[in-house]
């Protein structure tokens, strides 16, 4: 294939949307052709620029309620009932946490540390999924870290660090109280395009979280500890962007 033909395919090649035969052909060409290789790198940067800097416009607050009103009374009860279910949600979450904590305690005695870490990662991921399902993602909605951080005063026995990463394409959405292994933790919520990232933070105490990166059911969690705090970031975001997030938080 000529360079011109290759250039026409590069965009789809980068997106992983070419069939195997043509993909291989492009790959071979790029190994030999410096100019096309540069073009390919440039194209990848364009995608990265859009994903990082283009705003993802979330629906304004009033729109959903206006829609519900317009779509008829039938749709309202289902959706309005949910936010008031927090008591049931908390009981359910506590029960789940207790069961998981019990399971965690049990497994730790008989299984290797690695498996325990994996189990903990799953608990973190479950907590993430629950926060999305139960319509209880955010207690304090704000993109201002000076609003989010003080909100935890008096609710937790520590003050979680909260970073503003909007310039890097991670929008702060707010925070909430959550529970992990039976202890209250701070959950800081960020958006990356349509993806939600939960960042769980708690003081390490005697047992800092081990550095782990585990993928389960399409979600990934990365845990680490620094300066007396343990962190777990979890999202359905692709791995490189979640790693970028972790790098920025840990910086």
């Amino acid at each position: 294939m000529s360079c011109e033909e290759i250039r026409n395919l590069l965009s789809a090649y980068i997106d992983g949307e070419l069939d195997a035969a043509r993909s291989l052909e492009v790959e071979r060409h790029l190994e030999q052709c410096g100019l096309c290789e540069v073009a390919s790198e440039q194209l990848q940067k364009i995608g990265e620029a859009v994903r990082t800097y283009a705003p993802y416009y979330r629906a304004p607050a009033g729109l959903e309620s206006r829609l519900r009103a317009e779509l008829g009374a039938g749709t309202t009860h289902e959706f309005q009932a949910r936010p008031h279910n927090s008591a049931r949600w908390i009981r359910w979450a506590l029960a789940a946490v207790l069961v998981l904590a019990a399971a965690l305690g049990f497994f730790e005695t008989i299984r290797s540390r690695r498996e325990a870490r994996e189990l903990f990662a799953r608990e973190v991921i479950s907590s993430h999924v629950r926060s999305l399902m139960a319509n209880h993602l955010i207690d304090v909605p704000s993109s201002d870290r000076h609003t989010v951080k003080p909100w935890f005063n008096g609710k937790l026995d520590f003050s979680p660090p909260v970073k503003d990463l909007a310039a890097q394409g991670f929008t702060l959405a707010g925070g909430r109280l959550d529970y992990l292994s039976g202890r209250p933790v701070a959950a800081i919520v960020y958006y990356r395009r349509q993806h939600v990232i939960n960042l769980f933070i708690w003081p390490s105490g005697n047992t800092a979280v081990a550095r782990t990166s585990i993928t389960w059911n399409g979600y990934e969690t990365i845990c680490w500890a620094e300066a007396g705090m343990s962190y777990c970031a979890v999202s359905d975001l692709n791995s490189s962007e979640l790693n970028e997030f972790v790098r920025l938080v840990a910086k």
Binding site: L35, A39, Y53, F79
Partner: protein, 174 residues
Amino acid sequence: MEQKKSDRFAETVLPHLDAAYNLARWLTRNQHDAEDVVQEAYLRALRFFDGFRGGDGRGWLLAIVRNTCYTWLERDRGRAHTELDEDTPCAECGPTNPEALLLEKLNAASVSACIEELPVEFREVIVMRELEELSYKEVAAAAGVPIGTVMSRLARARKRLEDCLTARLKGGRE
């Protein structure tokens, strides 16, 4: 019966409100128009809901939002539909700009402006692919065009973005 349908509708379609609004906001380039379009799209979606055979609610809704946007663009702006030349090979995809694009120097304002300058047919594939992360097949279904067209529109759109961003970095226009 009615009750069940509206419940099912709320469960399937309302969770994708952000995606619907994001697409409408990029296509209309305006917050108020985007809200109007989304409201109209949801009413249309409710009307067509009997024809929804399950599966990907987001893709189904985005197709309706997209069509509502097009109707709106033609009606309210008297916008002449520019015929895009789809078939010729991507001539603009020729010699690449030798100056490397420095990502660190870009920002939300310049990237947004360059996307907004794209023709709507290019803008929609960029938004669906990069921001909604749809596959080419899903983009093709939502935009009502063949996959090959999605492929060439994306290639051209990215090339235009590259030129626009490079020009902005040179400080030519702001």
